[in-house]
């Protein structure tokens, strides 16, 4: 009996100790800000969004976390695979899980514009602040303009929307035209237009060509291929026969690999420029067997000093992943810091106060000076682009490296 009482006492003491530990645990959880990171985690963009957020969170936590009215908060990340390439409903479930089960305070992520548009409804229903680092369709911010109260939680932390992206590509085209004129003495270079189907490519191509005077070049034709075309040799050999000096591309899917491969294999004597999303990442070299050598593409980051933070961040990603960062990588990295900056200025985690602080963001990140268009603008909460803000760079493949030297 005595032994039994002794065991009961031990049990009570142990339960008490456990209760104290659990309470202490929840006390430390109060000192945490949770950020939900969502993206296609089995694909390169998702991996990079996660890596970038992890690097930023580690740096912030190491330097004392986020300060709110004298209290220090550490960042804790929660990861969710959107599987957005296969299923939009998976992406919706993943975001809902982050909000309802992981109880995150903020959201960062998503690559596809189509997925971003669907997830804006989830964000609005749960009133959760979301910084998007991957999608570029202007409709997302037009929604904020049309129904501010419902969609005010959305901020685009990159890439530039399709209107700006078109202008950036136009600069790249103009720069190349001038180079051809200067070095080859061809007054009006011939340009072949190569793009995939879909809103993004069509809008970008249209916007780019609008910004380059027609008197500057001659178009030899426009080739429009499917985003999943597994072989475009027929198209590229037709382009070769048209003898252009420049091939101006606008591709985002696997067709970017087949395009670069065919261009290199056929040794087409025309410079390949434009926007090739696949061409921005390190695996492109292997995927094209080095056929992308000398291909140039507009890009969110190169190993150039856009700001003093760019090269250290670039090198950190390179060291950790053995790959150069993508545009979504630097956008996600900066997004974590933008949240820190806004929360510290707001002095609270209260949603409306943080939104007000985010609207006044003026943060110097690794991609450039980050600021959002205010309420009342045509694209409220969209990333400000242009001289003095984010301008992007152009990078060129040389000997297995992309963007180690920006153009």
């Amino acid at each position: 009996m005595r032994n039994f009482r002794c065991q009961i006492k031990k049990f009570v003491i142990a339960s008490f100790v456990m209760l104290i530990s659990v309470t202490a645990g929840s006390a430390s959880a109060d000192q945490t800000i949770k950020i939900g990171v969502i993206g296609p985690m089995r694909y390169i963009t998702g991996e990079h969004i996660w890596t970038a957020c992890s690097i930023a969170a580690e740096e912030i936590n190491k330097s004392g976390g986020i300060a709110i009215k004298g209290k220090r908060y550490n960042i804790e990340l929660a990861k969710a695979d959107s599987n957005e390439f296969s299923s939009l409903s998976d992406a919706i479930s993943a975001m809902e899980r982050l909000i309802t089960e992981n109880k995150v305070d903020f959201l960062i992520g998503i690559q596809f514009s189509e997925a971003a548009l669907a997830l804006q409804e989830v964000m609005a229903d749960y009133k959760k602040i979301w910084l998007s680092p991957g999608s570029s369709h202007e409709e997302q911010c037009l929604r904020v303009a049309k129904n501010y109260d419902r969609y005010k939680y959305f901020f685009r932390c990159g890439p530039p929307n399709t209107i700006f992206a078109g202008r950036i590509a136009a600069h790249e085209l103009m720069m190349t035209i001038e180079k051809v004129r200067e070095e080859l003495g061809i007054e009006k270079p011939k340009v072949a237009l190569f793009r995939q189907t879909g809103l993004w490519a069509e809008a970008n191509m249209k916007n780019s060509l609008k910004d380059v005077p027609k008197s500057e070049f001659t178009t030899v034709g426009e080739w429009v291929v499917s985003i999943t075309a597994s072989d475009v040799t027929a198209e590229m050999s037709a382009i070769k026969a048209a003898r252009p000096h420049i091939i101006f591309s606008m591709v985002s899917g696997p067709v970017g690999i087949t395009m670069s491969k065919a261009w290199g294999e056929l040794k087409i004597p025309a410079t390949l420029i434009g926007a090739n999303i696949a061409g921005m990442s390190s695996p492109h070299w292997q995927a094209t067997n080095g056929m992308c050598d000398y291909e140039a593409t507009m890009n969110g980051i190169g190993r150039v000093e856009i700001t003093e933070k760019t090269i250290p961040f670039y090198d950190k990603v390179l060291e950790r992943t053995k790959q150069n960062p993508l545009y979504a990588t630097v956008d996600s990295y900066d997004a974590v810091y933008v949240i820190k900056d806004a929360v510290e200025r707001a002095g609270t985690l209260e949603t409306d106060a943080v939104i007000a602080a985010l609207e006044k963001t003026d943060y110097r990140g690794a991609m450039g000076r980050i600021s959002f268009y205010p309420k009342g603008h045509k694209w409220p909460h969209d990333l400000k682009c242009g001289p003095g803000y984010v301008t992007w760079v152009a990078t060129q493949w040389r000997d297995g490296n992309a963007g180690r030297k920006g153009l």
Binding site: P40, R42, Y43, I44, E47, F85, Q196, T197, G221, E222, W223, V224, V225, S226, T228, A229, S230, D231, T233, A234, E235, S237, A238, K240, A241, P254, I257, T258, K261, A262, E265, L266, K267, A278, P283, H284, Q286, A287, T288, N289
Partner: protein, 290 residues
């Protein structure tokens, strides 16, 4: 323009033909509608990639090992899964689709969704009739022709070929004549898997490798097989040629609409089927099979 259509059309048709023939063969003999056929093509491509890029083996060695492994995998699938339910064609279709999707998910988990590439067996290009043709494309066309010729020789000049054709024409009578039908079906599955693997050996260096790469060719070979007539090898070859050339004509003649290549060739299939529902070489009587 005609030269370009001729050269590029042959390349596209050749790959479709080898894949479609493999699909048609196992359907004709064992009545297995193998939706995992192009997944076998994908598996071979990834095995070659692992062999050449990660283990550093030469292309030829990687290709031989990969073809062997794919045939082995095909035989295991047949013995463990398809053979047990082959009398229920819908069940076979669903099971084979599940196998393909499982393969896709396993590749995503183990190698992630990065796009990858296999170095071409031969690099560079040559001008034929004024058209720049990649050596790899020539290799693909010749490889496909050699494979199709080899298959024809096997089916028409060997006892095994006769047995396969007998089972395809009437498996019950073939059984009564002393042919081991189960064994012939198993061997045919091996040949069919081997054809998918050979298609990968000759054509995979032309396209980016990713775990979803089995879907698009599956649509095209299904179209080629239906167009040619289910179960008819000759029909599959002609179906593949028609679809391959229809795609190339669209790409060459309407550059701004080359994304419609798949849709136009499928529309061509629909038109043929309206005129001849059993397909070009459709089997009206069982003895016509193969």
């Amino acid at each position: 323009m005609l030269e370009r259509i001729l050269v590029n059309g042959l390349v596209t048709s050749g790959t479709y033909a080898v894949l479609a023939v493999g699909f048609s063969l196992i359907f004709g003999v064992a009545k297995i509608f193998n939706m995992a056929h192009t997944a076998l093509y994908m598996i071979t491509a990834f095995l070659i990639f692992v062999g050449t890029n990660q283990l550093g083996f030469p292309y030829a060695l990687s290709a031989v090992v990969s073809v062997g492994a794919t045939i082995g995998f095909g035989l295991i699938c047949y013995a463990l899964l398809f053979d047990r339910v082959k009398v229920h064609q819908t069940a076979v279709m669903i099971i084979s689709l599940a196998v393909a999707m499982l393969g896709q998910e396993i590749l995503l988990l183990t190698l992630s969704g990065h796009y990858r590439g296999i170095a071409p067996f031969v690099t560079g290009s040559i001008d034929i009739l004024g058209v720049a043709v990649l050596y790899q494309h020539l290799f693909t066309v010749l490889g496909c022709l050699a494979t199709l010729f080899g298959l024809w020789a096997l089916l028409t000049k060997t006892n095994l070929g006769k047995a396969i054709r007998a089972v395809a024409q009437d498996s019950e009578t073939a059984n009564l004549m002393g042919i081991n039908v189960s064994r012939v079906c198993l061997i045919t599955m091996g040949i069919s898997a081997g054809l998918a693997a050979v298609a990968a050996v000759v054509a995979a260096p032309l396209e980016p490798l990713h775990p979803g790469m089995w879907m698009l060719p599956l649509t095209m070979i299904l179209a080629a097989v239906v167009l040619g007539g289910l179960g008819s090898i000759k029909g599959s070859v002609f179906g593949a040629i028609i679809l391959g050339f229809a795609e190339t004509i669209v790409v060459t003649a309407v550059p701004g609409g080359s994304f419609l290549r798949g849709a136009v060739s499928l529309a061509a299939m629909v038109l043929v089927l309206i005129a001849r529902p059993e397909g070009l070489f459709g089997v009206v009587f069982e003895e016509e099979r193969l």
